[in-house]
Amino acid sequence: MSTEPSLPHPELLAAIPRLRRYARVLTGETTRADDLVQETLARAWEKRRLWAAGTDLRAWLFTIMHNVFVNQRALARRDAQNVSIDGDEDGNAAWQIPVRAMQQTRVELMEILREVGRLPVDQRVVLVLAAVEEMRYEEIAAVLSIPVGTVMSRLSRAREKLRRVAQATPTEPSTLKIVK
């Protein structure tokens, strides 16, 4: 048996659907999301010595993905200083995941996807990690390199926003706009 450190393949494969989903939440589109997953997997293999076997592979991969995302964005902006997704104005643009990729026919689910897509990206990712990935607040804080208190305040703001939207638009199909 070789002593070369490695990553467990079945778990790596099993993590791909979740990585893709989180990448879509981060980037707001499908093609860039898959590029991000690919880069994340490549980086994971490069850094495999840093993974402590037996610890949560998914959380480790999410952390790598977050860093790759932040770095890519820094390069894109040619602004390597003080870059994070915090207070990001890009996040306010609605995501461009086509309805077909959402595979949703239920109106209220499409509605919630649309509203999540409108959250600033820093709030959107915290909400998805907590509510959908069911990560603990400490894990989320580690993935995003932010304090736990910040995780909580973003989560609270995200939920408050979704709630206001839900109250402002009661479920009347006639008032819905189709997501382009």
């Binding site: 048996m1 494969l13 099993a14 997953v37 609270s156």
Partner: protein, 264 residues
């Protein structure tokens, strides 16, 4: 006792199960008395479950080959020679897991040979049964929603058989992207935390029926059979006799459901 006033952060943490037990108990005291806060908590729970329901289908999207490749250990040429044995073993594993997505189960479709299916079922079982925190996408508490969702995605009315008689309670279920056809997985657990999974998928028309068969794949025992339009696999690390008993119970319940007898 005079608990601290509730903050929005408390409520969020309560909904996410992130509060210390003592504080959670205080929140529950307030909930018992305050209908508005109770409604707010219910609303947040509803939001969480709608979000999961909206985003979970993305998990079943077929994985592009480029990403399957990226999950493979990179093969720098010198390294490849040094670690060839390890890589070969890894590639075999990868091939086994990926065969559903990548080779589209050619073997099964061509010859009706279920070897691939059993192996795939065993590997899928091993992946999810070993996942302590999230073995399933939808928990048994929402069984009705789970069954509706899986039936819709499979294009087939599926049921979660009741295995309480054998000491196994339903944990929940998930959709598995193991094939060009989605596969439904129901997970069960007994008091000793042993887990069983039942996987169901639609077969292409004309697939020949296969009676109960047993295989051991990577240490996981799999009972599988193909019945009309469906393939079933019951996987677990129990002894064979126990697996057979449970397999028969599953089969009997499914047969009863097919002939229209209501399941209870």
């Amino acid at each position: 006792m005079n608990p601290l006033p509730l903050t929005d952060a408390d409520l969020n943490a309560y909904v996410d199960g992130a509060l210390a037990p003592a504080r959670a108990a205080e929140v529950e005291q307030v909930l018992a008395k305050d209908a508005a806060i109770t409604a707010r908590v219910a609303e947040m729970r509803q939001q969480n479950s709608a979000l999961r329901e909206a985003l979970d289908p993305w998990l079943a999207d077929p994985i592009p080959p480029a990403l399957l490749d990226a999950a493979r250990m990179p093969q720098a040429s010198a390294r490849w020679r040094r670690f060839a044995p390890y890589f070969a073993a890894a590639a075999t594993l990868l091939l086994g897991v990926a065969s559903g997505w990548y080779l589209r189960d050619v073997t099964l479709e061509r010859g009706g040979t279920p070897t691939t299916f059993a192996r795939q079922a065993a590997l899928t079982h091993a992946l999810y049964a070993g996942d302590i925190n999230r073995p399933v996408e939808i928990w048994a508490a929402e069984e009705k929603r789970l069954v509706t969702w899986l039936s819709r995605r499979l294009g087939l009315a599926v049921h979660a058989p009741d295995l309480n008689g054998a000491g196994f309670a339903l944990v929940g279920g998930r959709l598995v992207a193991g094939n060009e056809r989605p596969t439904a997985l129901f997970m069960y657990e007994n008091a000793d935390k042993q887990r069983l999974s039942l996987q169901v998928r639609k077969q292409p028309p004309g697939t020949s029926e296969v009676a109960f068969r047993y295989a051991i794949e990577d240490g996981v025992g799999v009972y599988y059979w193909i019945d009309d339009a469906c393939a079933y696999a019951l996987s677990g690390q129990l002894d064979r006799a126990q697996m057979l008993t449970i397999g028969r119970a599953v089969y009997a319940q499914l047969a009863a459901a097919e002939t229209g007898t209501p399941l209870k």
